[in-house]
């Protein structure tokens, strides 16, 4: 059983890396291989979901790598493998024949493996490994079409933004060891830590989770990530990477509760994102951008659930949103291929042109709108039921966010059901599409749509009680009838309003507010202004300092030594030489002077002797 868990997390990356290494030679085999592997992995996921195994292998000193599957992990494993399988099955048909398919499918498998590692990790180092590899594969997938600089730049933005937040996890690991020097960094032990380490851990976890889940203030990276292929968004930006943050917060809810401030911070971050990014979604004119902003907003509900301790509602929201959003992204991609555009005006009549796809899109959009009895309606009420007691303001924010969801979902729906425009030919983006959606691409979409409908039952007893039991969480407050009815009325009302407004969406007033929302609150500009710019300026300043001060000082020291040597040569050496020469010439003149008395004539010697003796006699007399 524990082998099954190991194979579950190792098989997809192993095959993924093999596909990547094989390169374009494996292009033809890539799709069948990847789908087969994911089928096997789905089987394994079912096995581990029922068996709940745990594995522990030695890793770092005193910190084993531990994987375990509990209720929450099991739900995540099943969701991730199912969505990956369906997305890959769809891509096998849809994805361009002449693109490097082995790279695409290899990276998707690598990604799936790292996501599975993240959701089964029981210790911090393992969690961090899955977490970061996920970010790196996301970089490679967003920048998949690397010849376009805009796409690779978007990939860089996504990776750097999420990694900024990931630093929180590194610090949390350090704090966990500092708090418990003999601990194993197991996630379940974290709430027991003492202050101040517990607060450091909480802050680190929250930052990392908000970054990965594209919550405020990190949301902008998800907007840029839409530069990636649509199947990538269908997996990463609906069911996997972006929900990892919400998953982490649900997982470490005991830690949030242990530190007094964690709960309100997380709850408000989720609620704010749900409202504000919902408005951002409403202001979009591009279908993928709308879906991306709605991902942030819908995940906001999961984060809210993690904050308020509503795991059942949060997990249901996660599963249902994964199915609906994955479906919508895949259809957006299919229409992009077929019609060559992703703008809402360009997609006018798309549903009428392809009625089957249009029907599936309708199921997804209505689910996303949270219309009763579809699952996101029940999920939101489950989340909000536990909020009402704690904070009416939070409850109001949640209701507002639910209404905004209905507005933007129906707005998208309104556009695609418009009559087919009479002017034929590609519109909007300026390039025409293939004009067809292959029939073989539909079955995975149908499965996703039925998952949307089927998961509705999970919001109500007895299925809800069973789901709560599977999650292994404590019973949570259920919504009252009046809450359910009020929620339903508000959402249906908002949806009706959105449909009735119809044509006004097309001519959205170009106010400053709408433009601000349309550009995702200009968060990216703010990040560039506040972070990227100063860092690059500091880098240039440091480089200048390195060249002009440090390097020059070293060279100066070298030159100084050389100058000293030359000075020694010129001054000291000359002085020494001249001193030596002076001594020599003095000796010479002394010698010359000494030679002078030696004349060889006897009378002169006699005179010298007399003079000398006279001097001696005088000295003798004076001294005596």
């Amino acid at each position: 059983m524990s082998d099954a868990l190991l194979v579950l997390v190792l098989l997809p990356p192993a095959v993924g890396v093999s596909l990547l290494t094989a390169g374009r030679r494996a292009d033809r085999a890539a799709a069948p291989v990847a789908v087969t592997v994911m089928l096997a992995v789905a089987g394994l996921a079912l096995t581990v979901a029922s068996g709940r195994p745990a594995v522990r292998v030695p890793f770092l000193a005193g910190m084993p790598a531990e994987l375990s599957v509990d209720g929450l992990s099991a739900v995540l494993c099943l969701t991730v493998t199912a969505v990956t399988l369906l997305v890959l099955a769809h891509s096998a048909v849809e994805f361009g024949r002449d693109e490097s398919r082995s790279r695409f499918f290899g990276l998707m498998l690598l990604f799936a493996g790292s996501m599975l590692l993240t959701v089964t990790a029981a210790t911090l180092p393992v969690l961090l490994m899955g977490w970061e590899v996920m970010g790196a594969t996301s970089w490679a997938l967003i920048g998949f079409r690397w010849r376009d600089p805009e796409r690779t730049e978007a990939a860089n933005t996504a990776f750097l933004t999420t990694r900024t937040a990931d630093l929180g996890l590194y610090l949390a690991a350090g704090a966990a060891l500092a708090a418990d020097p003999t601990g194993t960094l197991a996630l379940r032990d974290l709430p027991g830590a003492g202050e101040p380490w517990r607060s450091v851990m909480t802050a680190g976890m929250i930052t990392a989770a908000l970054g990965k889940s594209a919550q405020l203030p990190f949301s902008f990276w998800l907007s840029r990530a839409m530069a990636g292929p649509s199947p990538v968004s269908a997996l990463l930006h609906s069911a996997a990477m972006v929900v990892a943050g919400a998953y982490l917060l649900l997982r470490v809810h005991p830690l949030l509760e242990a530190s007094a401030w964690g709960v309100p911070v997380v709850a408000w971050a989720g609620a704010l994102t749900a409202v504000v990014l919902g408005l951002v979604a409403l202001a979009q004119t591009d279908l993928k951008q709308l879906l991306a902003a709605s991902s942030c907003a819908q995940i906001g509900f999961m984060v809210l659930a993690a904050g308020t301790g509503a795991p059942t509602g949060g997990a249901l929201q996660l599963v249902a949103h994964a199915a609906a959003k994955s479906l919508l992204f895949l259809i957006a991609g299919a229409w992009l291929t077929a019609l060559g555009t992703r703008t809402l005006t360009g997609l006018s009549g798309a549903a009428r042109r392809y009625p089957a796809v249009g029907a599936l899109f309708t199921v997804g959009a209505l689910t996303l709108a949270g219309l009763p009895p579809l699952p996101l309606w029940g999920a939101k009420d489950l989340v909000l039921a536990s909020v009402f007691e704690a904070s009416p303001a939070l409850y109001a924010a949640g209701l507002a966010a639910a209404m905004v969801s209905a507005l933007y979902s129906v707005k998208a729906l309104w556009f695609v059901w418009q009559p087919v425009p009479t002017t034929a030919g590609g519109r909007g983006d300026g390039h025409s599409g293939t004009r067809r959606v292959p029939g073989r691409a539909l079955p995975p979409l149908a499965v996703l749509a039925s998952a949307c409908v089927a998961s509705s039952v999970l919001a109500f007893d007895p299925a809800r009680a069973a789901f709560t039991r599977v999650l292994g969480s404590a019973p949570q407050p259920a919504p009252n009838t009046w809450e359910l009815v009020a929620g339903a009325v508000l959402v249906v009302g908002a949806a009706g309003l959105a449909w009735a407004w119809g044509r006004r969406w097309a001519a959205l007033p170009a106010t400053a507010g709408a433009a601000f929302l349309g550009r995702w609150l200009r968060l990216e500009d703010a990040a560039r202004l506040a972070v990227t710019g100063p860092v690059l300026a500091a880098a240039r300043a440091a480089a200048r300092f390195d060249d002009r001060v440090l390097d020059r000082a070293v060279r100066g020291a070298g030159r100084g030594a050389y100058e000293l040597a030359r000075w020694t040569d010129r001054r000291l050496e000359t002085a020494l030489t001249s001193a030596v020469s002076a001594v020599a010439s003095a000796c010479r003149s002394l010698g010359r002077a000494a030679r002078r008395p030696q004349t060889g004539q006897l009378h002169q010697y006699l005179a010298q002797a007399v003079a000398a003796f006279t001097v001696l006699a005088l000295v003798f007399l004076l001294v005596k």
Binding site: A61, G143, N156, G174, A178, V200, V535, G558
Partner: protein
Amino acid sequence: MLTVIVFVPLTAALLLFVLPRRTPAAVIRGVWVTTTAGLTAAVAGLWAGYDPAGGMQYETRARWMPGVGAGYHVGVDGLSLPMIALTCVLFLACAVYAWREERRIRGFAALFLFLETTCLGLFVSLDLILFFVFFDLSIVGMYFVIAGWGHRDRARAALMFFLYTFLGSLALLLGFIGLYLAASPHTFDMVDLAAADPPAGRAGLVLLAVGGGLAVKTPTVPFHTWLPLAHTEAPAAGSAILAGVLLKMGTYGFLRIAMPLLPDAWLRYATVLVVIGVVSVLYGALVALAQSDFKRMIAYTSVNHMGYIVLAVGAAAATAGTGHRAQSLAVTGAVTQMVSHGLLTGALFLLAGSLYERGRTYDMAAYSGIAGRAPVLTGLTVVAAFASLGLPGFSGFIAEFQIFTGSFGTRPLATALSVLGILLTAGLFLRALQKIFLGPLRLPDGPGTPRPFGDLRAHESTAVVPLLALAVVVGVLPRLLLDVVEPASRAVLLELPAR
């Protein structure tokens, strides 16, 4: 056994000169590759026979200069064994990489074999004088590699490299003499010195001399300015050895000499080390971010990566108490980082050399979108870059995770600041990848264009792939390395007095 391993490359180098002048280049390459491959196999055997719990092993002790208390004393433990293995692997990679080197191949091969002896000798030395001799000889060897086979500005770069690091080695010698004088009876033997009472009184000055000498070699800010110039002018294989092995002599010296032989002073001045470490991490990463020259950028990331090691050894000294678990984790992380940096930066420099060979420039702005022309070169560089920015699954993550986790408890502020380093390196590597490899195709203009811009050839990828594969092995199965390192890092910490 160790003695044979250390001196086999030197013997092979001498053999190359004995061979008749008209020996074909293929024979010389053959001797070179065979020697390095044989050594790698021998060290693998050494590793297999090594008992992780057994302390110092394969020791040899012989009289050498008894008058001055210096002997020939070699041995390996968990600190030196990974370094020896790294040395062998990198020299083998360089031998394979230089398979197409045409310029004076005999001298090139002989010089690298000579360098290998000095590097191996240094890592097994248990005597300060022996250590010093190998330390200086490695500088001499690298001087000739840069001066003889470097790029345009090689003479200046070689001179700067030699003078700067030689000055550092003189400081080191001064410190060694200080250690010698403080011990009674006077000795240069590291094992005896560790057993004797640590020097009192002047220990701070001795540590300053030893630490200063090692800091130049490592290099840490502000003693790093020789590094970028030496790297930009050195040939690819020379850069790989310089960054991969020679820099490790500095950090290895910290763990082998400074920390165990001067424990009191080490504890007293640990904060200085932590500050130097953090400054190196952030400053190195920032300056690297501002570079437009690919090789210079990689050189500055070395300053950043070495900074983590200095931070770790400083933080490890900061406190004793609650077991040695966190500190041991930091020291183990430092050793892992040495191995990891050797493998990854070695690979990056070889890849940078391949890029230069095709485009004749390191200027990142001259390239764009070469992924279309050279997918293998691109793929390997992307992998090496992500590994170097600390992606899990590669050795860098294992190293940096241990360093951060082990240092945070004792030095929270310093660790929090240096964690920013992995964000900066991520930024600079992604930027470089985007500039050179992605986007629309553009090749550097210059004399002789359009020149063929081919993908990596067999000998180049044969040299680089094993380095990256080993980084993956350490990243995925760290126990293979850590089982050897952990007992040694605990032993190093036992030398420190408990507070």
